[in-house]
């Protein structure tokens, strides 16, 4: 297993057990407020939490939090922008240009973030996370409020990542998307993860 989660708890969710293998996408669905985003935040270690998390058998507590987040990259539903130049959202040593091309924003390095459309900004948020070459991707509704072509583009990007061995935890409201992308789908309910079997109906 690439990512193993055992007994993950925060004040509001858990305990949660889940494993994802390399090149695998696991979808998480559930009503608003059921704790899906809190679950991703806890895996990224963004909220205080307890549990046993391992990335390729290496315990999370032995890895500095900032290194952990470079290897387990999360793209939240609402992305934050702290500087206006597109290029400044990428580390200087990472190759931003090829990624920008892939998300349909070639030569955008010197553009202003605030002039991009919502969809373009969303793709940019995914691109800046991919630039760090994470081993696991935590995606919180990556295509919510996006039109058909933008959704296709992002799903294509996800497939490329899966093919190169990245594991994806995908929070989505779109049942068809879960079926297209994921090997299995878990349902989150009141902070607990139901096993995939229950979703069969």
């Amino acid at each position: 297993m690439l990512l193993q989660i055992n007994d993950l708890r925060t004040k509001l969710i858990g305990p949660i057990d889940l494993s994802v293998d390399a090149g695998e996408c696991v979808a998480i669905m559930g009503a608003s407020g059921s704790g899906k985003s809190l679950f991703l935040r806890a895996v990224a270690d963004l909220d205080p939490n307890s549990g046993d998390l391992r990335l390729i058998r290496q315990n999370r507590s032995t890895i500095p939090a900032n290194d952990w987040r470079r290897r387990v990259g999360m793209v939240p539903a609402e992305s934050g922008w702290w500087t206006d130049r597109v290029g400044d959202h990428f580390d200087p040593e990472t190759a931003a240009e090829p990624l920008l091309e892939k998300i349909g924003l070639p030569h955008a390095l010197d553009w202003q973030v605030m002039r991009l459309s919502t969809g373009e900004r969303h793709r940019l948020a995914i691109a800046r996370a991919l630039a760090l070459k994470p081993q696991v991707l935590l995606l919180d509704e990556p295509t919510a409020a996006l039109d058909e072509p933008a959704t296709v583009m992002i799903e294509q990007l996800m497939r490329e990542q899966l093919d190169s061995g990245v594991a994806i935890l995908l929070v989505t409201h779109d049942r068809q998307q879960a079926a297209r992308m994921a090997v299995r789908t878990h349902i989150m309910e009141r902070g607990q993860l139901e096993p995939p079997g229950k979703d069969a109906a």
Binding site: P64, A65, N66, R69, V75, P76, G80, W82, A125
Partner: protein, 269 residues
């Protein structure tokens, strides 16, 4: 040196004529400010008369313990003021103690330094020198610290998504808050920088004016004013730096998380 002209209480009553005139205007123009004007000026009169009495007694008794007690009371009030001037503040005891401690350490350190090396009264803690000096240093540090913390907490809350976006890209907590901390430091430093830049050109500082009115040679008054401004500037800077960075330390944790759960606001939003 020219003679010192003593003021009588009748002189003071006459001087308040224009303030009362303002209250009348407020009544006539229905500005609704007359109550606030009245209460504020009454408060000022009572507070200053009391402080005059207290200082007279403290100076006469010349006790180090009493001097220390007065300084402690000043710190207590100033700390409370820092607490009250923040829209969002740290949870629990931290809300009071972090700002008050930063202000106290910076103010005390700078005042002790000036008392023991430049002013050098005998004894060095002589209340006539120690207390007014400490009051001026503390008052300005208080303003700086409260502005710095208020800006820090408000901006951290407003920019939380941008800060967490940086944390998610593997930045450390100090890197992620640096745009916010810079803004908070600037806002804490601004009043003292403005005061230093404008002083003497736009206005004569109150302390210097007071000294000149009471007959001190203007050049001597200027020297004292410069000393005070250096001390105030130094203490404000140290206090703001200490308060802002220790508050960032409190509002993040060792796993580089943003801990806004340790922040409270009056409105609950």
């Amino acid at each position: 040196m020219t003679a010192y002209i003593q003021l009588s209480y009748v002189d003071l009553a006459f001087a308040s004529v224009f303030l009362i005139l303002n209250a009348v205007f407020s009544l006539v123009l229905k500005l609704g400010l007359e109550r606030q004007l009245l209460i504020a000026s009454l408060r000022m009169v009572v507070q200053l008369l009391m402080v005059g009495l207290v200082l007279k007694t403290v100076f006469a008794l010349a006790s180090p313990w009493l001097t220390l007690l007065v300084a402690a009371v000043m710190i207590g009030f100033a700390g409370r003021e820092i607490w009250a001037r923040q829209e969002r503040r740290l949870d629990g005891m931290w809300g009071y103690s972090l700002g008050a401690t930063s202000m106290m350490l910076a103010g005390t350190f700078v005042t002790l330094f000036a008392l023991t090396t430049q002013i050098n009264p005998t004894p060095w803690w002589s209340p006539q020198f120690a207390l007014p000096l400490f009051g001026m240093v503390l008052g300005n540090t208080m303003t700086g610290v409260s502005l710095g913390l208020d800006t820090l907490h408000t901006t951290m809350f407003r920019e939380r998504i941008a800060i967490e976006a940086q944390l998610l890209l593997g930045r450390t907590r100090w890197q992620a808050v640096s745009p916010v901390s810079r803004r908070a430091l600037r806002s804490g430093f601004t009043p003292i920088i403005n005061a230093m830049a404008a002083t003497g050109v736009v206005s004569l500082p109150g302390m210097m004016t007071g000294q000149i009115l009471s007959g001190v040679d203007p050049q001597e008054a200027v020297k004292y004013q410069l000393l005070i401004m250096f001390l105030i500037g130094g203490a404000t800077g140290l206090g703001v730096l200490g308060a802002v960075f220790s508050s960032i330390w409190r509002l993040t944790d060792h796993r580089h998380r943003l801990r806004l759960d340790r922040l409270r606001s009056d409105s609950g939003l």
